[in-house]
């Protein structure tokens, strides 16, 4: 076993991990942070997405020891506890979520986009979310939600 030290949602954590442990396993099984979901576990669906030093990564195919000393943000950490992020508000208002399984990954992928491009076009949103699968919504209302959040965050 090896000691992994990382910052998760602003808090420093130390956990014991094996050589093959993934970041997703650390988050869910060791730290009990359950917004990153176990979808395909092969890096294809995007529902395990988290931000690693601000960059969108798939935690199911990210080796835990490779994030030594880095900072991870999950859905729980994008606002202060009790607050709601404009993206969360927009997903709620525009029905950007049906069963909700893809939603944490969708919101983090959207945040990663808006952090670098606050005024995306519809096509840019599509491109940014193309690695996150959703089986319920047909994506239309997810894209609507992201564009609405971008508008709100600008004003």
């Amino acid at each position: 076993m090896h000691t992994l030290e990382l910052t998760v949602n602003g808090q420093t954590c130390r956990v014991e991990v094996g050589l093959k442990t993934t970041l997703l396993e650390v988050l869910r099984d060791k730290l009990y942070i359950t917004s990153p979901k176990v979808g395909c576990n092969t890096g294809d669906c995007g529902t395990c997405s988290v931000l690693l030093d601000g960059v969108l990564v798939r935690s199911c195919i990210t080796n835990a020891l490779s994030v030594q000393g880095k900072s991870v943000t999950t859905l729980e950490g994008i606002t202060e506890p009790g607050d709601i992020h404009p993206l969360q508000k927009a997903f709620h208002e525009h029905y950007g979520s049906q069963c909700g399984f893809c939603t944490p990954g969708m919101i983090l992928a959207s945040k990663a986009l808006l952090d670098v491009n606050p005024s995306p076009t519809r096509d840019e949103v599509k491109q940014a979310l193309s690695g996150n699968l959703c089986r319920c919504t047909g994506y239309v209302k997810i894209i609507d939600s992201v564009l609405a959040a971008a508008d709100e965050m600008k004003s």
Binding site: G39, C40, T42, G43, D44, C45, H94, Y95, S97, Q98, C99, G100, V125, K126, Q127, L129, S130, G131, N132, L133, R135, C136, T137, G138, Y139, V140, K141, I142, I143
Partner: protein, 331 residues
């Protein structure tokens, strides 16, 4: 060369089990503060069961949507339901919930009639009040009625509902029967561009229209139509469980191989909602959950035929199949 074509497909779909006999029960309990708890056995898989049951209860009891809580998370404890399938929840559970809410409202009226010294049948439940029709001054808040009924009169304000369509009887001579609760109708319109050199098909536009009876929640409805249409697009264009059928080898075993549509594969979509009420659904509603995936595929196949004159009879319409069909046609 790129060629453009247009196609249409239409369909219909029953709400609930064809042949009847599927059952749903519901309980609506009005709390002493006038809020309500609905308990049903059908789960919410994202289609909006909780939302619709809360809307129906709020409508019947005349209270705010926010004052209704829906419990449907454990079939051990919830009333009987055959389940979430067959586009049946809004229709069958909706009817059971409406009956249960009306039953709870009847008990509220019994209590209010004593308090207001009037007959039960002149009362109505609106704006979180129980009041005498045509005489809004003679009213009580629903919380006052529920509180006085619960603690003063020892009432249990619990309404029960059970909807089950009788199994359809069949005439042994003619086989005639009436198997459906109601039928919802649909049509999809697709415009595609076919590249005759590569066989690639791009969907330029997809319009899906549904007769939903009554749009209980138009935003949810659009979401469900978009989602179903995207499944239809996937079935038509990319999803394949057995690429070498009848050999079952090489079947996809993860989401990287089984190619469901991504944001980049979904065309611009438009939903057209048409309301032709069913005679017996809750507020005229029909179920459209499953049928939303049915018409986009054939509309796309028809559009491919319109564009280049080939029939794709085995989905998905991959570039390889399109090219082989074009070859066979001698184009």
């Amino acid at each position: 060369m790129k060629k453009i074509g247009k196609g249409i497909a239409a369909g219909f779909y029953p709400s609930g089990m064809s042949g009847g006999g599927d059952s749903s029960q519901a309980m609506v309990k009005v709390q002493p503060d006038g809020s309500a708890v609905v308990t049903v056995g059908s789960c919410d898989i994202g289609q909006g069961c909780k939302t619709i049951m809360a809307q129906i209860t709020a409508e019947v009891l005349g209270i705010d949507y926010e004052a209704v809580k829906v419990v449907n998370d454990d079939t051990d404890n919830c009333p009987l339901s055959f389940g979430t399938f067959a586009s049946r929840v809004t229709y069958v559970d909706g009817l059971a919930t409406k009956m249960a809410a009306e039953d709870a409202r009847r008990i509220l009226f019994e209590i209010a009639a004593v308090m207001l010294e009037c007959s039960e049948d002149v009362l109505e439940a609106v704006d979180s009040q129980i009041r005498v029709k045509g005489n809004p001054d003679k009213s009580l808040s629903i919380g006052e009625v529920a509180g006085a009924g619960t603690f003063g009169m020892r009432k249990f304000i619990l309404g029960l509902g059970h909807y089950m369509r009788d199994p359809a009887a069949m005439d042994p001579e003619t086989c005639e029967c009436d198997p459906f609760c109601t039928l919802a109708w649909a049509a999809s319109f697709a415009e595609v561009e076919v590249d005759t050199e590569t066989g690639e098909v791009e969907i330029l536009r997809l319009v899906n229209s549904y007769d939903v009876g009554k749009a209980m929640n138009p935003t949810h409805l659009e979401g469900q139509i978009d989602g179903g249409a995207t499944m239809g697009v996937g079935a038509a264009m990319s999803e394949n469980l057995h690429p070498f059928f009848p050999s079952l080898e090489f079947q996809p075993d993860n989401l990287g191989d089984y190619a469901i549509p991504t944001t980049m594969d979904v065309p611009d979509m438009e939903s057209v909602i048409y309301e032709c009420p069913s005679t017996n659904g809750p507020y005229g509603a029909k179920g459209i959950g499953e049928m939303t995936a049915n018409t986009p595929g054939p509309a796309i196949v028809n559009a491919i035929h319109d564009a280049v004159g080939i029939w794709i009879t085995n989905l998905p319409a991959t570039p390889e199949k399109v090219l082989r069909a074009l070859d066979a046609k001698g184009a």
